[in-house]
Amino acid sequence: MSRHNSTSRKLKLIAFLGWTGHHAGSWRHPSSNPNAGLDIDHHIAEAQEAERALFDAVFIADGDGWKSGTKLEPFTQLSAVAVHTSHIGLINTVGTVYNDPYSLARYFASLDLISGGRAGWNVVTGAHSAAEQFTRGGHPSHADRYEAANEFVEVVKQLWASWDEGAFVADKQRGILIDPARVNEINFRGRHYQVRGPLDLPPSPQGHTVIVQAGSSEPGKELAARTAELVFTAQQTLPAAQEFYRDLKGRLARYGRSRDDLFITPGFAPLIGETEAEARDLEHELNSYVDTRRALDLLSERFTVNLNDYPIDGPVPLDKAKSADDFDNVKSRQDVVLDPARREGFTIRQLLYRANGGHGHVTHTGTPLQIADFIDKWFNSNAVDGFVIEPPLLPQQFRLFVDKVIPELQNRGLFRTAYEGTTLRRNLGLRGTLPLAKAA
């Protein structure tokens, strides 16, 4: 059972504000500005808007080797956003395969100090397309990636804990700046990493960076149960979300953790209109901007055939779908994308439109009240602790969410009316620091 009663338990809301919005056609909408991605003032203004709306955090997705053109590097972007905001969390995605634990621990420790304790690390492993940018022979298999990732996270956590409380003494009289006895080598010797430490930075006001995890495959769930404090996931239906919630929360005890040490926030792409008709019209308009042939090429990566060779208003050739095991990219997403087609007998066009709207995350089209009802229902059905909000069109759809949906959630007592503190950990209601697992 949650230690909160139903009136005090509050939604965790994360704003995922990528580029022009999450709908694949958003960049072609007349109101969007695709060049704004390179403009830091645009990102600062967006984060400030999310902060006025009392979101727990903003979140940046990232992958090594992604070709975008207008995407800033997240550590640099969030450091700039940090000094023009004061309460909102700043969550960055960094993969373990093509990074070093020491460097990563240092980047986050520095961002955490710059922001006064508001950093979060979304742990991913890495996509195989990155291998050719990093002088590697090949990309490790899914299982190997997760095994190494477990060790990587352990090293990073130990580095973050390598400074004891009060190690930065700054005693002018005695001439002691840093007490060497309170800064400890970690001497980590694992299968994949050997790191002596200590880190060159003391901890931030939140202790250490909040750990977020976004893989929902079997090894992903184990990694989450062991280390994550916030979990991003894609769940298309309430029963699936309830099952995931029960499963993951049930695994925590094995690692000596309580149910309130980890919060689950699936992605959610609400498409909002003042009226239902207005929302439908916008959805239709955004779908019209998607290059169908190209989008079907992309979707075909999940099949053994090219969907462009099939009638678009005919049934999805589900017998030609790859199994999750044959799909080495984001494994858990394969079923999430295909299950609704199985369940509801989608045509190819319907599957495509569903994929356009939330790239696998649950979507809902309606009025602010209907969106609030949806959130309310999931939140109160043992399915979620909150959501990662993925506006389909920016800035317009985020503004509607902030102006119309947030006040409704507050009226229902589901969302905060003021920040609880100035660190991400405090606002999420997480404990100060995690007890460290013993070194492997």
Binding site: P34, G69, T70, D100, S103, S110, Q133, K172, L201, P202
Partner: protein, 441 residues
């Protein structure tokens, strides 16, 4: 008044703790925790910008316990707290990936709208123990790695032509694919396919700064360096270095005038000579002498714990520079300083505490302006890497008192005339190699 076409001094501010005197944190007004306080560091950058200085620069102490914010995150924060001043980050080429580094600098350049610079170091300090025990490469190997590393990074910056990004909402096209290039670099140490994930930086090439002055370092400076940081102990040494590095440039097809040389200059300022000396004395009193002697013993391979403080230092049995695997040029500079000035152990401790071997000045603003002018007009420097002994005090004194003197003498700008770091330094754009050669995508 200044003639805008005449050669002008360039000043960079070396951000460092509470100042470049190692005991600066023990002065009464110092706030030692400010080194980790972004608002305090931003204030330093803003003072430098009020003084119209060219850039601020963050060093890197990878793997140590020095406790200083990581340069990319630090400078990205400073980028949105300033408008004109250049932002130079030190990043080593031994414990990084060219792709990550190219991407972060391109991003910093976009965030700052063209004010990023990369101070290339090879990683003198052994960081291998924090990087899964890869062996720390030797001095010569590190420079070979660095050369290929910089080559890859500059290729990645060129991988998008300036006009490659072209959103056409009506047609539904985002890029001009012919203007986005795979670099297909396959070298001895790196293989990187490219293109970079982000559009070409506003400066085309963020400024390349070089700061090792050994033989290998000078070659790297001549080949890649656009701004050179160096430690020089005297006018004569600085002149020899300046001549030498500029003379090497044509071998790499470069114009010596496209290289700016900025020796480090550590200073304690006072309204009068006496006031400055008193400040120097006070700072000296705060030095931990036992630790300083231990460090020097380590450096020279000698036991100096019983050496009389006021006797001239005898270095006959000291370790020669060629056996040093760290910053080799700095070691030689310190040996030369002791021999040339016949320093006692006490004097050497004082000199090293103030700027770690960089040129050390104590005096009035007029004297400092005279020194800068003398080096500038006598083939020793194009500018200086300013190392105020105490932040913010010595930087404020420089901006308020030294800058106006140099402006009156026509040696320093009276307003920012450019919007980019390359522009402040009077350096032109670097053509995109892929656009120039018309290579296919």
């Amino acid at each position: 008044m200044s003639n805008p076409t005449s050669r002008q001094l360039h000043f960079n501010v070396f951000l460092f703790n509470t100042g470049h005197h190692e005991a600066s944190w023990r002065t009464a007004s110092a706030r030692p925790a400010d080194r980790l306080n972004i608002a305090a560091v931003a204030e330093i950058a803003q003072i430098a910008e009020q003084g119209l200085l060219d850039a601020v620069f963050a060093a890197d102490f990878q793997g140590g316990r020095a406790s200083w914010l990581e340069p990319f995150t630090l400078l990205s924060a400073l980028a949105v707290k300033t408008r004109h001043i250049g932002l130079i980050a030190t990043v080593d080429t031994t414990y990084n990936e060219p792709y990550h580094l190219a991407r972060k600098f391109a991003s910093l350049d976009h965030i700052s709208k063209g004010r990023a610079g990369w101070n290339i170091i090879t990683g003198a300090g052994n960081g291998s123990h924090n990087y899964s025990n890869r062996v720390h490469p030797s001095h010569a190997t590190r420079y070979k790695i660095a050369d290929e590393f910089v080559d890859v990074v500059t290729k990645l910056w060129d991988s998008w032509e300036d006009s490659a990004l072209n959103y056409d909402k009506a047609r539904g096209t985002r890029y001009d694919d012919a203007k986005i290039h795979e670099i297909n670099h396959i070298g001895k140490r790196f293989s990187v396919k490219g293109p970079l994930s982000i559009a070409r930086p506003p400066q085309g090439r963020p400024l390349l700064v070089q700061s090792g002055s050994s033989e290998d370092g000078r070659e790297q400076a001549a080949k890649w360096g656009e701004l050179i940081f160096t430690a020089q102990g005297s006018l004569a040494e600085a002149q020899a270095f300046y001549r030498d590095v500029k003379a090497r440039a044509p071998r790499y097809g470069r114009n010596p005038d496209d290289i700016r040389i900025a020796p480090g200059l550590c200073f304690v300022l006072g309204g009068s000579d006496r006031e400055a000396r008193e400040r120097e004395e006070e700072l000296f009193s705060f030095i931990d002498k036992d630790r300083a002697i231990a460090n020097l013993s380590d450096r020279f391979g000698l036991d100096l714990t019983r050496h009389p403080l006021d006797a001239p230092l005898n270095l006959d049995n000291a370790r020669p520079a060629v056996e040093v695997d760290g910053v080799r040029s700095r070691h030689q500079l310190i040996v030369d300083l002791v021999l040339r000035e016949k320093l006692s152990l006490r004097q050497l401790i004082g000199r090293l505490a103030q700027g770690r071997g960089h040129y050390s000045f104590v005096g009035t603003p007029v004297q400092l302006a005279d020194l800068a002018q003398q080096w500038f007009e006598n083939g020793a420097a194009d500018g200086f890497n300013l190392m105020p002994a105490v932040f913010n005090r010595d930087l404020e004194l420089f901006v308020d008192h030294v800058v106006p003197i140099l402006q009156k003498r026509g040696l320093f700008r009276t307003r920012y005339e450019a919007t980019t770091l390359r522009g402040h330094l009077g350096l032109g754009p670097v053509p995109n190699r892929y656009a120039a050669t018309g290579l296919p995508a």
